[in-house]
Point group: C2
Chain length 147, copies 2
DNA sequence: CGCTTATTGACACAGGCTCTCAATAGCCGT
DNA sequence: ACGGCTATTGAGAGCCTGTGTCAATAAGCG
């Protein structure tokens, strides 16, 4: 029996480690906070939100940069010049984004465009398609009620 | 017969005008340059590229902001904090983006996800889907040859 | 062809993001 | 478990993108 609660490394943590990056407390905090947010977050927002430990703002930026590089986060341009980041699970997936409250939910590859579509695009463009993105925008269940 | 070459307002120019915005020389230059680039461009890049007239950098920023607002451009976050803009035609369309040289080509709505897919996403998520985005990434014809 | 006023360009300025560097803490080998 | 190597961190200075201000200009309209 484990004496103390074993800190189970999440799947994302493991991925970072596999790529040779050190699994540090600040990184864990940032990743967890971003994942639990379930929406696009700015570095400042995450920095304010992390309370368990004193994480420097520069480290938040550095980690977000790293996550985007590795594919665990998606960077988006925000009006006002401040970038936003969304947590992305390691698996291929797509997004459903609420246009009202900003909530994001992942949907799995079952909804991917048919292989035939990709072939058709290749035929029409002479591109050699390697990957795709697809997002759906609309109102989440909570935001459909009120005006 | 026209004595001088009539400057035909492009479809985008007309759209701006219809929305009550004035069709100025700087705006035309910026739009034309962005459209002809056929790729994501930063404000600085566009500013350097516009030679026909002396356009202020602030005006480039303002126009790009306007275009994004109206739907004639798509804003993207770039590594390094500088935002990039891609010209987007007024019609609904999707993108094929070269992962090597950055060239972007539009493909039309014929490749849209089937209506049934959108319905399935709605059923799976309880969202009310209003619109979607879909981009394909791969190598353009020119970039497939060499390594 | 003038009048009205949206738009421009220059420049000052704000704030997001990065760089530097000494201190800290993962990770590995023992 | 312990110690060493070095990636990583946090603080703060500094850079650079992007915005606000304002007088001058020009688009649109009668
Ligand atoms: Mn995702
Ligand atoms: Mn487009
Ligand atoms: Zn919502
Ligand atoms: Zn290419």
């Amino acid at each position: 029996m484990p004496r103390t609660a074993t800190i189970t490394p999440t799947e994302e943590d493991a991925r970072l480690q596999a790529l040779g990056y050190r699994l540090t407390a600040p990184r864990r905090a940032i990743i967890a906070t971003l994942r639990e947010a379930g929406r696009f977050c700015t570095a400042t927002q995450l920095h304010e939100r992390i309370t368990a430990r004193d994480v420097g703002l520069a480290s938040v930026y550095r980690t977000l940069e790293l996550l985007a590089e590795v594919g665990l986060a998606e960077r988006r341009a925000e009006v006002g010049g401040e970038a936003s980041f969304l947590y992305c699970s390691p698996r291929h997936h797509h997004h459903v984004i609420c246009t009202d409250c900003g909530t994001v939910r992942e949907i799995d590859a079952a909804f991917c465009p048919d292989e035939a579509v990709t072939r058709a695009v290749e035929a029409a463009t002479d591109f050699q398609i390697a990957r795709h993105t697809m997002d759906f925008h609309g109102l989440c269940a909570d935001c459909q009620g009120g005006g």
